[in-house]
């Protein structure tokens, strides 16, 4: 590396310890090199303090006006709003509480229940002895459907956002 290159490295504070020793020794011995360093430092300070050129005041607005509509926000909105999700969780919680904590008041009819819904519906009919079993079946099915829809909504929303970031 030439002395000139070393001088610029020194001015920028990028010398290795051995380069630092070398250039500082040269600077002590050589007055002309010291003068040169002064010029380099002067130039360096001017270059570092340069200000960027500013475009016209309308520039940012002009850019925004010409942007194409390629990232529509509607796509990323959830299909089910948060209020419906809250209603779902409250209803599900109330139902679960009723099944597990209310005393049994009647025997389950059992005839119309499918094998999958039987345990749930019989628990419900124990809790709500006066409510027809079919009504309770529809209630459970509706809750399950809303839950499934919410999960699908979340899944597809993540997919869409993932595709946009690729």
């Amino acid at each position: 590396m030439s002395t000139q290159e070393l001088l610029w490295k020194y001015a920028e504070g990028q010398c290795t310890p051995s380069e630092l020793l070398q250039i500082e020794k040269q600077l002590t011995d050589d007055l002309a090199l010291q003068k040169e360093l002064d010029q380099v430092l002067e130039l360096q300070s001017v270059l570092v303090s340069m200000e960027p050129d500013a475009p016209s005041m309308r520039f940012a607005q002009n850019v925004m006006d010409t942007l194409p509509a390629i990232y529509p926000s509607e796509v990323t909105e959830p299909l089910i709003s948060s209020i419906w999700k809250k209603i779902f969780w409250v209803a599900l919680g109330a139902l679960a509480a009723a099944i597990f904590f209310l005393p049994r008041s009647a025997q389950p009819s059992g005839d119309l229940l499918t094998p999958y819904l039987d345990p749930i519906a019989s628990g419900i009919s124990h809790a709500f002895g006066q409510v027809p079993t079919v009504t309770l079946q529809y209630f459970v099915l509706t809750l399950l459907s809303i839950g499934l829809l919410a999960l699908m909504d979340k899944f597809f929303l993540r997919k869409v956002r993932g595709l946009m970031l690729v």
Binding site: M50, F59, A60, Y71, M164
Partner: protein, 189 residues
């Protein structure tokens, strides 16, 4: 940089104001790059605007391997160079090794032209008279604070080539300062 990534994410989710914030943050630096290449404010502003629109279109493909600023300056540099090359009389090479600092001769010696000016004005004048690539290299290095590697990525030059060019350019500028100093001394005598 984290702030940039957040604004990019929001832009991709459809928030145009987030991109507006990126424009506000980088418009001066992008404009400085295009102005150094084109040396004409109107043209430079159009090129800078094109660069931002191109960046917006390609934002989904930005892989965050480099800084957003480096990626943006690369787009600005290429846009400005394309415009420069499409000019009818742009027949001189941009990557000519001999292209560093050529101070214009207006009939007087450089000493006579510049001895009344202070260092800053002198450097700015010299930068304004440099070839597009040279002025842009110095702008990217000092003003936009890009590293040698980042400048190489932006301009397509090799790292060693960038280092050599920066060294030559700075020495040329130093020589301008030296000549100016000699001129001042002469005028005092």
């Amino acid at each position: 940089m984290e702030n940039d990534n957040l604004l990019i994410k929001k832009t991709l989710q459809g928030d145009r104001n987030a991109f507006g914030a990126l424009v506000g943050q980088y418009q001066d630096y992008v404009f400085s790059v295009t102005l150094k290449v084109l040396k004409n404010r109107e043209e430079a502003e159009e090129a800078a605007q094109d660069a931002f629109v191109k960046a917006y279109r390609a934002l989904a493909s930005f892989e965050q391997r480099s800084k957003f600023s480096t990626w943006l300056y690369q787009i600005a540099w290429r846009t400005a160079i394309d415009r420069y090359r499409s000019r009818p009389r742009a027949n001189h090479s941009l990557d000519d090794d001999q292209s560093y600092l050529q101070v214009a001769d207006h009939g007087a010696t450089p000493e006579q032209q510049i001895q009344q000016q202070n260092t800053r004005a002198l450097i700015e004048q010299a930068l304004g008279q440099m070839k597009p690539q040279d002025a842009t290299l110095l702008t990217l290095y000092y003003l936009n604070e890009q590293s040698v590697k980042e400048i190489a990525d932006i301009t397509g030059l090799t790292e060693s080539n960038v280092k050599v060019k920066l060294f030559r350019l700075r020495n040329s500028l130093k020589n301008v300062l030296t000549r100016n100093l000699r001129g001042e001394v002469k005028s005092l005598m």
